[in-house]
């Protein structure tokens, strides 16, 4: 479907619809919160009943998420030592059959056996589809790294990691997408990086995005789209088919796992509809995790958990942060939006709408590591994280555009529209409201209880029932603690029981952290959208305190 994925340049009816849909998420969130308070005051009996129903629902949802968190982590664990290059070679050799000696491995750990069985199934599905991939030798990777304030201390580790990865760097193009308004030292740093690493990759160039191009906002998407257009010219000149290029859009601080590109290449090759897929790794925030304060650590581990859980539902997985996709698809859909902050998720929706619903995200069982936002002190760190989370929550700007597109899309089935639309709206509304509901509902009706309510059994039994159900959530928190401890990178020092206990106990502050650094930023973003106060892009400050992994703060 040909659809202008933007809130700009709309005719009047479309603009009215856009505004109405922009108000929708915030209105829903505020209605829920205000309604909860009002109900607690005016109809405490109803509020008490609703509290029980909501808390029970929340517990079921928590258990549901925990199950898939553990499952997803297990898959990540299972594939951590997978030799992706070997699997790529099998596909290149077209050994997609049962008799390949590579596949006959009666020994091996349980993890290996699971990984092998999945692999076998994938090969069979590929063969069945008939959509065999090009040879890996003809595939290229384009890595776009946007930068504006970040110096080489931030950008270089990612480049080094790509170079040192298992996938041949000779098949990787590095494109540093620099903003023209970047400071001279940053420009100098980027030029130095190009000079240093140009011989290690297929090519390495720096593209400077001019400022104030018509129709563009000061957003990352404008920068990366400009860079991608330059790359397209480059590929055209060298007659490299777009379908053979996999583009990865990273953040300046992204450090991919050494097997990222081999894992990505494998999944690209194994997926029959490879040019109609995005590829989403699990983001982790390990670059400076031991330097960051505990509350910052917890909130970003939570983000990783969110993606871990989401990756178990690939049919509804939306891209987030650093991810990859087919360059062909990127060109087809017109690159990233140049006037939206949430380009990472917008690109998925843009593709989904363009291809009439025939677009999905493939989860990758590998990680990319980024920085936890830090400040000079704890308060600054808190403020920076708040702003970052608000920027992430600004992904709600996709809601009105997607819903408008759904109303026009004739080829997307109603089932898909309802399923995706509901999930999209529900994810933002629950993001902004659940923590408040859990914090308020359990005690609010009791506070405003009049004599009449206070003389009912509900007044006494409801808090007990709610408390019992909520206490079950400690199991969920323990599961999160355990998974987080398993996922954390090794400390340079202090890897003992007490250090682990200290880290685990940080999870006990989750109720407060989630409200302050997740729910409130989400509500903030939705409220801004409601009132048409569109957010300008604020590039999160990234600096490394004392270098990666050195002298943990705690």
């Amino acid at each position: 479907m040909d659809f202008n994925y933007s809130r700009q340049n709309l005719n009047r009816p479309e603009h009215i619809l856009e505004r109405a849909l922009e108000i929708l998420p915030g209105a829903l969130s505020w209605s829920i919160l205000i309604g909860a308070v009002v109900t607690s005051i005016v109809w405490p009996l109803t509020a008490a009943v609703f509290t029980i129903a909501f808390i029970l629902y929340w517990i079921f949802r928590l258990v549901y998420m925990n199950i898939f968190l553990v499952l997803s982590y297990a898959l990540l664990f299972v594939d951590r030592s997978t030799d992706w290059m070997e699997r790529i070679a099998v596909i290149d050799r077209r050994e997609i059959g049962f008799k390949s000696p590579l596949l006959a491995r009666p020994d091996g750990t349980l993890a290996e056996k699971i990984s092998q069985s999945v692999y076998l199934r994938q090969l069979r599905d590929l063969k069945k589809s008939g959509a065999l991939p090009p040879q890996s030798e003809s595939l290229y990777h384009l890595v776009i790294i946007p930068a504006i304030k970040e110096g080489s201390d931030i950008v270089e580790p990612g480049i080094r990691s790509i170079l040192a990865g298992r996938y041949p760097a000779r098949r990787i193009f590095i494109l540093l997408a620099l903003e023209d308004r970047a400071a001279a030292p940053v420009k100098a740093d980027m030029a130095a990086l190009q000079k240093k690493y140009i011989n290690g990759f297929a090519d390495f160039w720096v593209v400077t995005h001019p400022g104030n191009l018509p129709g563009e906002a000061a957003v990352k998407g404008a920068n990366t789209s400009y860079a991608a257009r330059q790359a397209r010219r480059y590929f055209d000149e060298r007659r490299i088919p777009y379908a053979n290029v996999i583009v990865s859009c990273f953040d300046a601080d992204t450090v991919p796992n050494p097997d990222y590109f081999s894992c990505l290449t494998y999944h690209f090759m194994i997926t029959p509809e490879r040019t109609r897929r995005s590829y989403q790794p699990i983001p982790v925030y390990h670059n400076n995790i031991w330097n960051a304060p505990g509350f910052a650590r917890i909130i970003d581990i939570g983000t990783s958990f969110f993606l871990l859980v989401e990756s178990t539902n690939p049919s509804k997985l939306v891209t987030f942060s650093s991810h990859s996709m087919s360059f062909q698809a990127l060109v087809d859909i017109g690159y990233w939006p140049v006037d939206m902050i949430s380009d990472d998720s917008a690109i998925f929706w843009k593709a989904f709408i363009h291809y009439d619903g025939d677009y999905q995200t493939v989860p990758l069982n590998t990680t990319v590591s980024m920085d936890i936002v830090e400040g000079q002190d704890r308060w600054q760190t808190f403020v920076h994280i708040y702003k970052q989370k608000r920027r992430w929550a600004w992904g709600v700007e996709n809601v009105p555009i997607v819903l408008r597109a759904f109303l026009r899309a004739e080829k997307i089935s109603w089932r898909q529209k309802i399923a995706y639309g509901y999930k999209l709206v529900d994810s933002f509304v629950s993001w902004a409201t659940w923590s408040f509901l859990l914090a308020l509902l359990s005690w609010l009706p009791g506070v405003f209880a009049g004599k009449e309510f206070a003389s009912t059994t509900v007044f006494y039994i409801a808090p007990r029932v709610s408390g019992t159900i909520l206490s079950l959530s400690t199991i969920g928190i323990f599961i999160c603690m355990a998974v987080s401890l398993l996922m954390l990178p090794p400390r340079r020092r202090e890897n003992n029981f007490w250090a682990n206990l200290r880290h685990g106990s940080e999870w006990l502050f989750i109720p407060a952290i989630v409200i302050l650094l997740s729910a409130i930023p989400a509500l903030d973003a939705q409220t801004r959208l409601m009132f048409g106060r569109y957010m300008e892009f604020w590039v999160t400050d990234k600096f490394r305190g004392k270098g990666k992994g050195e002298s943990a703060k705690d």
Binding site: A48, I67, L71, R121, A454, T457, I461, V465
Partner: protein, 475 residues
């Protein structure tokens, strides 16, 4: 071997989702019904709605007996799942008398017994100041209690009950020491006390500010030309005193010595709250004036009921309750208000206290104790009431003989009152008559004082006149 492909994952998700959904659909209504008290009656094998009894005691940790069975939990406790009916509940704790009550339980309802005060077998009392004292004058709303053996100023001591300090009122060899005290005037929450000393020739007046160290003592006799019928000041303007006489009210500034004799004329009654002076004038209009005289605001005409109003000869005391609700009390013993039912007591008023937290007014005569609580009502256009609230009056006790003082205790669940020379504890029960228990004897013709802080009663020991404290909840 189970293969975990995207399709398998989707199938797994759907399966778990539907299992959870089914569990939720089953559990949620069950939990809600449980919250409303529904159970399966084991005898009749049908669904029945139960009620519960909530008990909390002071001190906590009492053993609970439901009929003859020992309940598993100690107080505070919820006895839930009770079929509608009447149950005998007994609370027992070592060192305390058993508390026994028959409680009716209705379906879906909770019978609440909050802060049941367990009566010790022996009330432990603490001597705070050896007397002998014969007079005790607590200053309401402050930390201070005035004590004296004989009614001469030099005999008076000030006891700070919060800090447990006793100090003489006057410095040594004060010239006021031999003044006989005929009357003491004080205001709620103000550390200022006015002593009136009556003599054959004329009355003398002493102003004492107990809030200062050392106490600020000023003779203000020369400022007072005529014996006042009422005094008024408040803690915000402790140095400005309003004295009302027969037909006027004068404003004294103790600091400067200025006295405006006819500051207000035609005054029938007054009271103060915050920076405002509330005045009932000769036309029965209620208005307020700031102490500095800068603002005056008409509030409302005093309601008339059945053609009656307070006699002009009786000065009225105006007590501010809430935003627009006032009490009018007279020396003759009537207690009226400007919201329905207007007349709370027609005569015999011995005292009253208003609790802002619970919005309840406690008032008593020699024989009776009652309380009135503010509730909302639908306001009728024809009514002159300025508020949407009314007082709902309840009679609590009618077997008194010479009730002199009464206090809300234990968060309003009990009353402590003095009848003659004894102190009693009255416990409110949801149904039936309140329970009373005699706590101790006090010195004849002396006052008592109760504070929620520490739930302590202060009184004079009948034997030796020592100032004694007794906690309702002994440690």
């Amino acid at each position: 071997m189970l293969t975990i492909t995207p399709r398998t994952m989707v199938l797994t998700r759907r399966t778990i989702f539907f299992v959870f959904l089914s569990l939720y659909v089953i559990l949620c209504p069950l939990l809600i019904l449980t919250t409303f008290g529904y159970i399966i009656n084991p005898i009749k094998q049908e669904v029945t709605q139960t009620g519960l009894i909530f008990l909390s005691s002071l001190p906590s940790g009492a053993d609970i007996y439901l009929e003859k069975s020992h309940y598993r939990n100690r107080s505070p406790a919820n006895l839930s799942g009770l079929l509608p009916g009447t149950y005998k509940i007994t609370l027992k704790k070592k060192g305390y008398k058993p508390w026994v009550q028959s409680i009716s339980v209705a379906a879906g309802k909770a019978a609440t017994f909050n802060q049941i005060i367990l009566i010790p077998k022996v009330w432990p009392a603490q001597r705070l100041a050896a007397g002998p004292f014969s007079k005790m004058e607590p200053l309401a709303g402050t930390n201070y209690i005035l004590l004296a053996e004989h009614p001469f100023l030099g005999q008076y001591c000030v006891f700070d009950w919060k800090n447990k300090l006793l100090a003489p009122l006057l410095p040594a060899r004060s010239r006021f020491a031999d003044w006989p005290v005929s009357e003491i005037f004080s205001e709620q929450s103000s550390p200022v006390v006015i002593f009136q000393s009556a003599s054959f020739w004329k009355n003398k007046y002493l102003y004492v500010d107990l809030g200062q160290t050392p106490f600020r003592i000023l003779e203000i006799t020369r400022l007072i030309k005529e014996k006042p019928t009422a005094w008024c000041w408040n803690s915000l303007y402790p140095k400005k005193l309003l004295l009302s006489t027969r037909d006027a009210a004068g404003l004294l500034d103790v600091e400067t010595g200025a006295a405006e004799v006819k500051w207000l004329t035609g005054l029938k009654g007054c009271g103060s709250q915050g920076k405002w002076l509330y005045i009932l004038d000769g036309r029965d209009d209620v208005y307020r004036e700031s102490f500095d005289g800068a603002h005056r605001e008409f509030l409302f005409p005093k309601p008339r009921w059945e053609g009656r109003s307070a006699a002009a000869a009786n000065p009225e005391r105006i007590t501010w309750i809430a935003n627009d609700i006032f009490l009018f009390s007279t020396v003759s013993g009537s207690l009226t208000t400007n919201v329905p039912p207007y007349v709370l007591l027609d005569g015999g008023l011995a005292g009253f206290r208003y609790d802002h937290k619970t919005e309840r007014l406690l008032f008593w005569t020699k024989k009776d104790i009652g309380f009135a609580e503010l509730t909302r009502r639908v306001r009728l256009k024809t009514e002159r009431a300025v508020s949407s609230k009314i007082f709902k009056v309840h009679k609590v006790w009618d077997q008194g003989q010479a009730i002199t003082d009464c206090f809300w205790a234990a968060g309003g669940t009990h009353l402590v009152f003095q009848d003659h020379s004894a102190i009693y504890l009255l416990e409110f029960v949801p149904t039936g008559k309140p329970r009373t228990e005699k706590i101790t004897e006090v010195k004849a013709a002396s006052s008592i004082f109760y504070t929620e802080e520490g739930k302590a009663i202060y009184f004079l020991n009948p034997k030796d006149g020592a100032l004694t404290a007794l906690s309702l909840i002994p440690e």
